[in-house]
Symmetry: C2
Subunit: 374 residues, 2 copies
């Protein structure tokens, strides 16, 4: 919802804990990524697993993105319900009820000149998908996922990917769209050189696979992948045609701990948990944001513009220590260690214009796919 | 919602990931705790920060609980909206908008012969609370929280608690209800002896504080606290009049790792994440439940009735390793490391009757206070 400009409440009116987006910083991040992709003539399809918001997915498309990536069928449904017309499920789906939902979505989007695409990594997965699509008369773009170092989903690069692409081509309802090649762990290697080397190995694996596919007479329309920590290397590779980074929009505390590559654009922190001090004693203060307010899988949050240290106080509390403790009732801003699962804890983001100190609440952004697990 | 008995779908119909309650196991856990508290003539007020469900809070009251504990104002509001009439916010609240909401809740519950109570640990907090209550003509029970080893909220045991109790007594809208004394860290000490020793120190601190209060002419109506890992010691202390454990209802994987005290009743795992294998390769399988499906603050989930090891695969995936890998499409059951923040990720729990293998879906239990952070 947007608020009427003449009645915009100030930042002070935001009760705690709340998840707050610095809209100015977020929009600068979007402009930076858009400029990078224009300059390097590469498509970008930001991952909506971060923001889970149809409004933000649409904002990114307006800035030049070709569509959105998601990980879950229910995330795709939430974005499509919110008006997004081009969604790629960059993940494997094998359950029959989900494949039926995807097939219905594909048919519905086709009728609107939109599309939904998906990743596959097994013969069985391809056959189940084709059966679901045939049952409703729909068709879909399919990427074969290769494991380029993440050691998670995907077949090994090379011959196994050719076998899967050949199976895709056997089903008229499937269009072989190319390769999904994402190395998530490379995003968080601290040294810029280590990230560059990791992606060099990824690119070699992709090139090898593409050569085998072409030798088998199979054209590879697109290679898609990359994240905020490494995307410059995929962009410069000459192999990737589409980048999937999502976190640049908000920037995690964890990404900020990476050594920056001089060639990489600079992004700002744009997502904050506003919290209040509810208890103070001689040794520490306690704030009202614990790990029900922010994810801790990539470390605890940092206190923004402060030398205070945030310590784990459990589900509902944070322990603040430092030379000068805050006072009872003071408010602080935390930078989450990992934005994706933090956003997933909230029904909406509070969008602030004009800075965290003196700004106003311009809009509330619904987290449409919060809890969209299936 | 309850489903009509003659159309109850089987467990197989639950798509993944889903948070599933074994209703039979949960009800046995409730009966066990109810019997313990009856036998030892002690009140119990289970912590709803675990289940966040008005229906489960009511089920516990029907089994003999005196009411529910919560940590957040919004949790209290969600339970009251769902018909719970006696709620204790076992936490400090100092923001004026929240105190106004609490005062309105107190007035509304008083009119229905219910009550809301709260913990305090500062003069300023007591004065703000009294002002909010006076503004609407309401009154409330207040517990003074003492820090008995958690090193979080609460004043030091002894004289500081007397000062706060005296301040409470200065405000006619406040009733001094006694002491809040909870040692959360003691719940997870692995050795039964270490937990017993930790609670012995807690009890000594409570007794000392009570003696000082009584010497100052202040009666202590109730001491409240304890959790699933330690409650037998608080129950046997002769000092506590009310127990707050909540986790016994579902039992975390982490609690199961505690050495059991022979005097403690036995509780069963009753909460599971159902997950499906979406990718298999030579070295591992991948399931569709990552840390957006379960909290990992107390460790990764265990795979139920299996020798498979669950490894972190990020937000949406789990990596399964073991001598025999499952097949594509297989479903597995995970026992979450920590139930409280896991429940907070879901809009509803799927209640299964008759076991996880051959049971039926009897009801969906709404997580009324999911995301209730403020």
């Amino acid at each position: 919802m947007s608020l009427a400009p003449n009645t915009l409440p100030g930042v002070d009116s935001i009760d705690t804990p709340a998840l707050v987006v610095d809209l100015d910083a977020m929009e600068r991040n979007i402009a930076t990524m858009a400029a990078f992709c224009r300059q390097h003539r590469i498509a970008w399809r930001p991952h909506a697993k971060l923001h889970k918001s149809a409004a933000l997915a649409q904002l990114l498309v307006q800035a030049g993105a070709v569509g959105a990536c998601v990980q879950k069928t229910a995330e795709a449904e939430a974005l499509v319900a919110g008006g997004v017309r081009d969604v790629y499920i960059s993940n494997e789906v094998v359950s029959l009820p989900k494949l039926e939902r995807i097939a219905r979505m594909a048919r519905s989007l086709q009728a609107q000149n939109g599309q939904v695409s998906i990743a596959v990594d097994s013969l069985e997965g391809i056959r189940r998908l084709a059966a679901a699509l045939n049952a409703v008369g729909a068709s879909m773009r399919v990427f074969v996922e290769i494991d380029v170092g993440q050691n998670r989903c995907g077949v090994q690069p090379g011959a196994p990917a050719v076998t899967l692409a050949q199976e895709v081509l056997r089903h008229p309802c499937l269009q072989f769209a190319g390769l999904q090649a994402y190395h998530g762990k490379a995003q968080h290697l601290r040294s810029a050189g280590a990230r560059r080397n990791a992606i060099a190995a990824v690119v070699a694996a992709v090139q090898h696979t593409r050569q085998l596919l072409e030798a088998a007479g199979i054209r590879v329309p697109l290679v898609t992948g990359a994240g905020t920590g490494s995307f410059i290397h995929e962009a410069f590779s000459g192999v990737y045609g589409e980048l999937q980074p999502g976190s640049f929009l908000f920037m995690d505390a964890d990404y900020a701990a990476n050594e920056r590559d001089p060639a990489a654009p600079v992004f700002e922190h744009a997502l904050f948990v506003k919290t209040q001090v509810i208890s103070v004693c001689a040794t520490h203060a306690v704030c009202d944001a614990g790990h029900k307010s922010h994810a801790i899988d990539s470390g605890l949050p940092r206190v923004w513009n402060s030398t205070l240290e945030y310590g784990n106080g459990g589900d509902e509390h944070g322990i603040l220590r430092g030379a000068t403790l805050p006072s009872l009732g003071d408010t602080l801003w935390l930078v989450p260690g990992h934005c994706d699962p933090t956003v997933n804890l909230y029904d909406h983001l509070v969008g602030v214009r004009g800075g965290l100190q003196h700004g106003v609440v311009e809009r509330h952004i619904r987290v449409d796919a919060r809890g969209a697990l299936t």
